[in-house]
Amino acid sequence: MTMTADACVWMYAVTAGDGSVPGDVAGVGGGPVRAVRADGLVAIVGDVAAEEFGAGALRRNLEDLDWLERTARAHHGVIEAAAEAGPVVPMQLATVCTSDAAVAATLRERAADLREALGRAAAGQEWGVKAYQDDEPPVASRDDRPGKEGASGASGSSGPPGPGAAYLLRRRAQLTAQRDARELALASAQAVHDSLTGLALSSRLYPPQSPDLTGRKQRMVLNAAYLVADGRASEFAAAVEDLAGRHPAVRLVLTGPWPPYSFVADSPRDSFVADSQQAAQP
């Protein structure tokens, strides 16, 4: 394979030496996918245009959510196709090398880490569980919002103090109810996480997703990934179902199976994840 100055090499995943390369899947940028082999490991890679995926362009393009979505889906598509053939160690999005030789050098340099990660990837599948705080209690009805109340109260400055005081009382009760609901949802999320962690080989907490991105008004109170041994997937799914029934304060959403994105890094490099785990696990 000859490299031109205009091409970069995008890395999707690393598999064991006997892993096959998915043949019929289009990679990032639409191009084909191929293998770079070194030290008994196979990197699944594809050529991408430097003008779109080189350092400067990549930085700009990552700002573009549509571009990011296309790229992330293509990246994931190749990884998922590769995972059909055997354990894979996914690369973080936008791992770009300048040449096949650089990819091979990286494989050799990180061989021990990558083999260890392949071992973890072979142990099970990743499942995602998110918990949303269930809808606010009915006490927080729309009629209690200060907008309406304020408008009628402001119309008569010399009017009786009754409505204002009543509003404040209602508002206080509403805030108490909201706080209670929040605490109940958090306690439920913690209990769900503890139970599922007990069934999993490993777990990892992600930050809750912003409502702007989920499109849900409900607040997310748990965003976790679990590495579940292959033989226990249905047991895990049944446990999620059971926990959903026992914790009505939260709505649970199960996703997966995923390639083991969350369990291949040799050390936690996201301080927020480490912090969250410390906070979550006494």
Partner: protein, 71 residues
């Protein structure tokens, strides 16, 4: 907003079903192996800088506070 699953997904996701972008971004941006070396760019250099990535982490402190408060 970009495409999202609007309906509740209480049941098992089926392989091949369109994955929610946020779930995917959690994993491809914060998961996976990070390889440095001859890499032209590591996402570690950009995260928290870009608009789209920042949107993903806005509620980090909220989560930390939540978990700690729940202790």
């Amino acid at each position: 907003m970009t495409s999202q699953n609007s309906g509740a997904r209480r049941d098992l996701a089926i392989r091949g079903e369109r994955i929610a972008l946020v779930d995917l971004l959690d994993r491809v941006l914060a998961g996976g192996v990070v390889i440095a070396g001859d890499v032209t760019l590591s996402i570690a250099e950009v995260d928290l800088v870009t608009v789209s990535l920042r949107a993903l982490v806005t509620s980090i402190s909220a989560l930390e506070d939540s978990w700690k408060a729940g202790r």
